[in-house]
Symmetry: C2
Subunit: 462 residues, 2 copies
């Protein structure tokens, strides 16, 4: 695979242009207004896999959006890598904060990306990182050095909790049989210090509704005499954390994996500047659970955040109204060995229990997933580490991520194989935020590194 660098250098403009075309399609899975675009994106991914050399590609129907399945089979005696990715993206709002339209990709230089970065929703999460695998396959098939069998499973519902994926995986265990699962949907420490994500947090996402009076009321005539659903919702949300920012839901911490002092000291070695962190976010201080560091708070500790809240009059000007209803979207990040279904039940029970008389409360679970940890002594991890070291010239560091890819735990359960998370994005890429971008360097480096994983994984498996 000595010519991988030269092949990428030779085709880089085309690689970038192909990704830009894919990014132009607004495949927002959370909003049904974009459903046709999501489907069009699936079609585009299917074509790209065919062009890249898969000898069998299909759009697999599911109860939701189709899953793009592709495979290149060369020898039953060789190992099989299953690549997972997703072609859907987060909603772009608030759109007004984008410096360029979210679905009109442009390449701009940034402090961290002197070679330029592609700005567009999905540039990093996950179209860009998913497409690296497509181009890596193209390289290996074009150069006749694909060392093993490969399967692709690219879904379109990851950003809404992959409701159809388990349905699909349970029904296609033979088709999806593999020796290792490869995902690029995470990040690395920096462009000079690669890292491999060995832990993911689980997730429980719920929506709550607080109902007071049966209609909106004049706040002058009723103010102070009836429970105001917005004030009550605020009060209930405030009660979910205590003065140490511990979550107050009874039983919430019962199964939480407590790391040893040694493990925590090991984690603390990862390069991190609290000053730079605060500067980057323009905050005067961090905020979180007492007795834990920032890196612990967002990786090995469970959290509860309100992701959205709304109620009453939110238009221009003033309206003296007491709303009939108030709403919030609340998500909890979970750690090993919390069970997301159990946590969802604990939340629901607790939230209903703290509602005062005068209001009715409804909790609707959205979706969830289990946390996951990858053993670093596995062949998959070793192969990935060797690939990074060869292409970056630096040994990658194993890190726990605060993010969630709920389906990773599902894969282990259903497909009985380990997942390796080779991420090439940076925290600063603003995924899920306005002005999401993906470094051109990172994109091309990913295409360079992935074939090396195939090589080492095949060698180590023999």
């Amino acid at each position: 695979m000595d010519n991988i660098k030269s092949y990428v250098g030779q085709h880089k403009d085309r690689f970038i242009n192909e990704l830009v075309e894919l990014l132009k399609i607004p495949s927002v899975s959370a909003d049904s207004a974009y459903s046709q675009d999501v489907i069009n994106t699936a079609e585009a991914v299917k074509e790209s896999l065919e062009k890249a050399g898969c000898d069998k590609v299909e759009l697999c129907e599911t109860p939701g959006y189709p899953i793009v399945y592709g495979e290149k089979f060369i020898d039953p005696n060789l190992p099989t890598v299953l690549v997972y990715g997703h072609y859907d993206v987060q909603p772009p709002d608030p759109v007004e904060l984008w410096t360029s339209p979210p679905f009109e990709p442009v390449i701009k230089e940034t402090e961290l990306h002197p070679e330029g970065a592609i700005f567009a929703r999905g540039a990093c999460d996950d179209k860009g990182q998913m497409y690296m695998h497509v181009k890596a396959l193209e390289y290996m098939t074009q150069n006749g050095n694909l060392p093993c069998n490969v399967k692709f499973m690219i879904e379109g519902e990851e950003e809404v909790g992959s409701p159809s994926l388990s349905w699909f995986v349970e029904r296609n265990q033979e088709k999806l049989k593999n020796d290792v699962i490869l995902i690029s949907d995470t990040g690395m420490i920096s462009n000079t210090q690669p890292s491999i994500t060995t832990g993911l947090r689980g997730l429980s996402y719920v929506e709550v509704e607080v109902t007071g009076p049966n209609r909106d009321l004049h706040s002058g005539l009723y103010g102070g005499a009836v429970a105001n659903p917005i004030n009550i919702l605020a009060k209930m949300i405030a009660q979910l954390h205590d003065e140490n920012n511990h979550i107050t839901i009874p039983g919430f911490y019962d199964r939480v994996e407590e790391l040893s002092r040694e493990e925590r000291d090991e984690m603390a070695k990862a390069p991190f500047s609290l000053e730079a962190y605060k500067r980057a976010l323009d905050i005067d201080d961090v905020y979180g659970e007492a007795t834990y560091t920032t890196n612990e708070r967002n990786s090995i500790r469970p959290t509860l955040d309100v992701n959205g809240i709304w109620g009453g009059y939110i238009g221009e000007g003033a309206k003296t109204v007491i709303a009939s209803k108030a709403y919030a979207k609340i998500s909890m990040r979970l750690v090993p060995d919390q069970d997301w279904k159990e946590i969802t039940e604990l939340f629901t029970k607790h939230f209903e229990s703290i509602a005062p008389k005068g209001v009715k409360v409804k909790v609707t679970p959205h979706h969830g997933g289990q946390a996951y940890v990858t053993p670093i002594d596995s062949i998959g991890y070793q192969a990935a580490a060797a690939a990074y070291e060869e292409s970056f010239g630096v040994k990658p560091i194993p890190v726990r991520s605060g993010g969630s890819i709920p389906i990773v735990a599902l894969f282990e359960k259903e497909l009985k194989s380990k997942t390796i998370m080779m991420g090439f994005g940076l925290d600063s890429d603003a995924i899920h935020s306005p002005n999401e971008h993906f470094g051109v360097f990172n994109y091309l480096k990913g295409i360079e590194t992935i074939p090396l994983f195939y090589k080492y994984f095949t060698e180590m498996t023999k």
Copy 2:
């Protein structure tokens, strides 16, 4: 004025149709999208005053929407009544909860309005009640029995706090000179038990903005490590009340007028059924400040309510984001002798003081006004009481309202005259809510009663 009943009976259909036409114009002052409609409404009111017999009508320019001024002058030796009303209306949202479009008036029967009620935004507040005065004037000029001079001042910014009215009043004290101010922008106990509003609460309306990180963040990567503006805003709002639902802003209660046990007992005599109140709102219990009754909570006690809240992802589905900003609109109802400007400062100071590190807080005052109390021994009150008693056959009860008409205090200060609040609406008319309506009985009864006020006020003044 013996023929007033027959005149109203004879022209009732026209009176209703004229009001319906006025209600069709969506004069929403809070939303600049409707600005042309607001101006068109002013024009329509001007025409109606000319037709009703004013000998001088003009649209007076202000920094905001024009004020319609009209007058009918018959004798400098006779007293002058100044009628105040407003032609703007509250925003209609949530529009989906209206059973008929808010600006397509329809007449429907209700339990409390067997003779039918006009359903439309502004039907009661205040187009319907304001137009009663226009038709009352028509009756008196048509029948040559107008007993005194009359002036009209109808504004178009009441629902946004009358920002231009004080500007106008201060500059036109001579023009607005009067012996009593008459307003119909309140309600009465029931169609069989009229009441006169003798007290109004003051108001301080602010908007707050809580800013955390400088951009929306992925809740997995940052959750638990940075202050989430929505969680913080909820926490700060929750802190504004203690466990007895007392407002915790230091100094907030310092100037609050404490009523004597006797006054409270007197108030408690007004007919009220807590069961019916709860049933009407479909709530299992009321909620408010400890040691006060429902009727005290919404009339003689100051309150703090969130009128709107928003932040983060509020669209369909789920988005795992930590918002950069969260917002709320908060209003405080004030009682004599709280000063709304002082309260706004106290709120701002307190709200900023409870913001934790990690967020920035901005408080923007919207508008406000002072509370007001009318003495029941004034000629104006006595004349109004006599008018109600003659047209309803029942003595009216003086009541304190929880609502606010900030400009009433302004009138007393600038024009040195008392304001009489002759309201003909019912609490159930859903002003500021979907399906606002105004009883046909109430509308016509108002037109019948108002000329009697002119008669008695003129007689008692002699």
